[in-house]
């Protein structure tokens, strides 16, 4: 449930950018029979099948992970690319099988038959037919495949589309159960897969069984955070640790907004700020009673604050006009100074984009705050991984084993020989090493950089920004400063499949609409309360809460 936010913001981007109707799930018209969904399983049974975790120690990061609470840790960091590329897989993993694989790709699709694919197939010992599909329409494309039962042998299904793609219904029907191969110590056969943290496997588990192979697992998974233009604010003598409460933020709005010069302090920040007011991500348990976000006073306090921020004129007008797609460009251009976004925004490419506009560009993130400046700091963490690949149920056991051996190769840690092959290609052809940094050649840019294989399996995240170590240092310093605030929300990493009526109520469209108008300064908080009242009765909200209480909380607990 933690990725609800991601999915939502993604949908917004996709819809506004592509304008295509996200009709995905409509497509699966011919189901296989009366609906059977895999959902949450018993916690004890799941614990028994989760794979063992054996961290990889072959390559030491420059910045080590710092542990937070359970299942929480900062990413390891690399300031330079390891010169000694250790091999972690002995021999060729494949046995000559042929497999088709479909992954989303947010970018230009490489030529279908290219030198990199050939080299990879040789290294893997299989014929892996990579069929990347356009990432922005992926949620429409996949349901067509499942509707006509045309899933490839290996497929990537990002978790934020779990409900849209009906993953709960596909596992066991069209997607293979990997439990016999990976549970407990079985995974030790695949040492690189075993180095993926348990929380990530949990995100790919449905009803006490393992299905998904996680990519980019991380112990620091949050929906997103508030960013600021560190270069500009520091020039004004403002540092991140001066911001400790919602009032501090509001004051910054006044101080930084300079509409005459086209500068506004804020872009849209509600999504990543409301939990700072003490509101739950979606659910909370008060004295044993399950409470929905919309029922909490903290939710309305957050709305009220954002409403005041907008009406005070501190939010960029384009953001108020619903234009999220150009939010980054506004930030790069210094038109907005405080924005918000997923943690994936903060990387080398961002740095390069920002510097193209202004050589001083430096992104920083505000620390997690409590709106009142007093309460305990807390930010809800998401599931251990968002990128999840699955194998087709029609594969024979030995084929599944072959694919898992391939996955093991793809999951080789940062800096290893295999990682270098998967992410940079063949040295000399696809990249050359310049000042210790693997640098893509023209062929590399076209064929390798599109990143297709890592969507099938990849090692746990290691932060890196080859050539610009400052980005990694900044980012990990921020993670280290905030790691203690990460906590599991209610129903953390539980794959819940709801009946249609509850899923509709769960989306809460009428409240979301009223809410958006409220944070844009067009509706009062009282009007949102009205929308919530009607959501609870005619919108099925009360039934949703009841259903969730009966079927999830009472049966399986909070998952925290």
């Amino acid at each position: 449930m933690g990725n609800e936010l991601n999915r939502r913001s993604f949908l917004n981007v996709a819809v506004s950018a592509a304008g295509l109707v996200a009709m995905g799930p409509l497509l699966s018209a011919c189901g296989s029979g009366p609906a059977q969904r895999a959902g949450v399983g018993s916690e004890a049974a799941l614990k028994a099948v989760l794979p063992a975790y054996v961290p990889n120690t072959a390559i030491k990061p420059d910045i080590a992970s710092i542990a937070g609470g359970p299942d929480v840790m900062t990413n390891p960091g690399f300031l330079s690319y390891p010169a000694n590329r250790v091999a972690t897989v002995s021999g060729i993993p494949g046995k000559g099988g042929t497999y088709s694989a479909v992954t989303p790709l947010w970018g230009t699709i490489p030529p279908a038959d290219n030198a990199f694919y050939t080299a990879m197939n040789k290294a893997l010992g299989v014929q892996l037919q990579m069929k990347p599909a356009d990432g922005n329409n992926y949620n429409t494309i996949i349901p067509t495949m499942t509707a006509s039962k045309r899933l490839p042998d290996w497929i990537q299904l990002p978790t934020w589309w779990n409900s849209q793609m009906n993953v709960g219904g596909l596992v066991g029907n069209q997607l293979a159960d990997l439990t016999p191969y990976l549970s407990g110590d079985n995974i030790k056969k695949y040492s690189n897969l075993a180095a993926i943290p348990t929380a990530a496997w949990r995100a790919g588990a449905w009803g006490e069984k393992l299905y998904g192979i996680p990519s980019f697992a991380t112990g620091f998974q949050i929906a997103g955070t508030l960013y600021y233009r560190r270069d500009i604010l520091e020039a004004k003598g403002i540092t991140a640790d001066q911001v400790k409460s919602a009032d501090d933020l509001m004051n910054l709005g006044k101080e930084l907004t300079d509409a005459k010069n086209g500068v506004w302090a804020f872009d849209d920040v509600y999504r990543y700020l409301y939990t700072s007011f003490g509101a739950p991500l979606k659910w909370r348990v008060d004295n044993g009673k399950l409470v929905h976000l919309y029922e909490t006073e903290e939710f309305y306090a957050a709305l009220d604050w954002n409403n005041r921020l907008a009406t005070a004129g501190y939010v960029h007008p384009d953001a108020l006009a619903g234009d999220n797609a150009n939010g980054n460009t506004r930030f790069f251009g210094g038109k907005t100074l405080i924005s918000s976004g997923g943690t994936g925004t903060w990387n080398l490419a961002d740095h390069q984009s920002g510097q193209a506009a202004n050589p001083n560009y430096r992104r920083g993130a505000l620390n997690i705050i409590a709106a009142d400046g007093k309460s305990a700091l807390r930010v809800d963490m998401g599931p251990g991984a968002n990128i999840m690949s699955y194998l087709n149920i029609n594969l024979k056991p030995e084929q599944i084993e072959e694919c898992l051996a391939i996955a093991n190769y793809l999951a080789a840690p940062y800096g290893s020989a295999e990682f270098t092959m998967v992410n940079f290609g063949v040295e000399g052809t696809h990249f050359t090493v310049v000042d210790g940094v693997p640098t893509a050649t023209e062929a590399g840019k076209k064929e390798v950089q599109a990143q297709t294989f890592p969507f099938l399996a990849a090692p746990a995240a290691a932060t890196n920004s080859p050539g610009v170590p400052a980005v990694t240092k900044d980012y990990l310093a921020w993670q280290a400063a905030n790691v203690k605030a990460l906590a599991k929300p209610v129903f953390w990493s539980m794959n819940i499949s709801m009946p249609q009526a509850q899923a509709t109520a769960d989306a809460g469209q009428q409240v979301e609409d009223a809410m958006k108008d409220c944070i844009h300064g067009k509706k009062s908080v009282a009007e949102v309360r009205e929308a919530v009242a009607s959501w609870k009765t005619s919108g099925g909200g009360d039934k949703l809460i009841q259903w969730t209480n009966d079927n999830v909380l009472q049966k399986h607990g909070t998952g925290q």
Partner: protein
Amino acid sequence: MLTIERTLEAAETPAPQAVRKKKRNTRPAWEEPPTIAGETAKGITLGVVLLVMLVPLWIIVVTSLSTQGAVNRAGGLVIWPDGLTLEAYRVMLGDTTVRTALLVSLGITAVGTLVSMAVSVMCAYGLSRSRSFAHRFLLTLLILTMFVNGGLIPTFLVVTGLGGYGQWWSLILPSAISVFNILILRSFYSSTSADLIEAARIDGAGDWRILWSIVLPTSRAVTAVMALFYGVGYWNSFFNVMLYMPTDSEKWPLQYVLYTYVNRGNGMPGSVNAGFGTALSQTAPLSLQMAVVVLTLVPLLIVYPFVQKHFRTGVLTGAIKG
């Protein structure tokens, strides 16, 4: 037969038109001289219209030629040039997949337009003769589809059920007909050359002959416009590609390939910091997006004059009478 032969002759030599073309700015002899007030009003109106259309075009072209720095400094679309580069075009046109896709697009557009036009012209003429057998029933059958549809999935299931998944025809046949276009064609045909048709019929010409020798030559303007409508539709078609060949990148038409450039900047939300984005090119997505828009317009600018040519064929029927 006499009437028909004369028609054909006239179609080949639209004499008055040729005369007019040479004396470009002269008005016909029978028309009174323009008034100053009228001309001024006309000029101002058209000037404003042009300005409103050209300014955005300017912005789009400038943005497509801008460096990433310029786009980011502007915080969006670029109005005043501030660092120009051809990078966006280089990135796209230098890609071999773009070249294959161009061929695919041309093929689909040519074949599709041909199929659509053949089907539509026949259908429109078949329904244009009033009081013909069952024409109201057939028209109703057509019109109903404009307002009622079963939705995306059932259509998808029908096409894949017929084996259309990954097949070229799935990009053409399911959307080959626009009832709107047929209605427009029919409206033109039913008010066309009734006298000529009657004469031809007396001479013993059948409907196929009439369609080919009288109706088509005398309604070239609307035929050209419909071909444009269909052609543009195929050229820009997108959704069918996504449904029926989402992973066959070697079969993708140009628009779909270009679209993947547009979206490279969007990235994924909440993705971990694991090297996503390292794949991003140095060129700002916005300039790429605008370059895509410009590339979309180029073929239209090339084709449009050929359509425009036919807007002057109205004189043709006048010539037949003489």
